[in-house]
Amino acid sequence: MKNRMDIFEITREPIDKLGLEKRLLTGGAGAIVTFDGVVRDNTKGRRVVSLQYEAYEPMAVREMRRIGDEIRQQWPDVERVGIIHRFGPLRISESSVVIVITSPHRRVAFEACRYAIDRLKQTVPIWKKEIFEDGEEWVEGQAPEVKE
């Protein structure tokens, strides 16, 4: 079962992106597509100082694993799936989430990686608050389309 080597983690520490890619790299891979979500210095022009992420940890890991399962159903050629989400306080340009897909060919890796981050933003129980120079605000999430 290829998916036993997949990686789904929630952490307070900075994400070791290169380490994650190395843990997922197999001889059968010809493509690694990586999505790295980093803290942007503004939201619609308003200056952001930092972000604060909060996670429902055990459920977040379950939901990330579920995304991995969905990917393997849709793209059986995927070699490995890795998702690490960080929580706690994050500064500008720090990574909040890193998603790595390895596969023999590039199309599948791109599609699966994009699916993973789109889905993560719908289903994984994590919330962020933006800290501005003059206040703070929870970011409004989108309502999930929970698969029955």
Partner: protein, 86 residues
Amino acid sequence: MSDNAIKVNVLLFGACREVAGASELQFNLTAPADVASAWAEIKNRFPNLEKFERSALFAVNEEHSRKDQPLKDGDTLAIFPPVSGG
């Protein structure tokens, strides 16, 4: 507690946690209970949560759940706004 009393663990996250000023508590409910009846009790205790009436999401034992999901003794009910990770 009477025979038809159940205890559920309630977790609050994000803006719901902040508005309620609580992150984890135990609630005593009367069976039969479901997410909707628990949510009504919780809003009684924390009237500020009323603003999440339309947006709040629920998870029972770490699975996304609808309001008609039954609750049994020992279940964990999480209440939170739409997720905004990534």
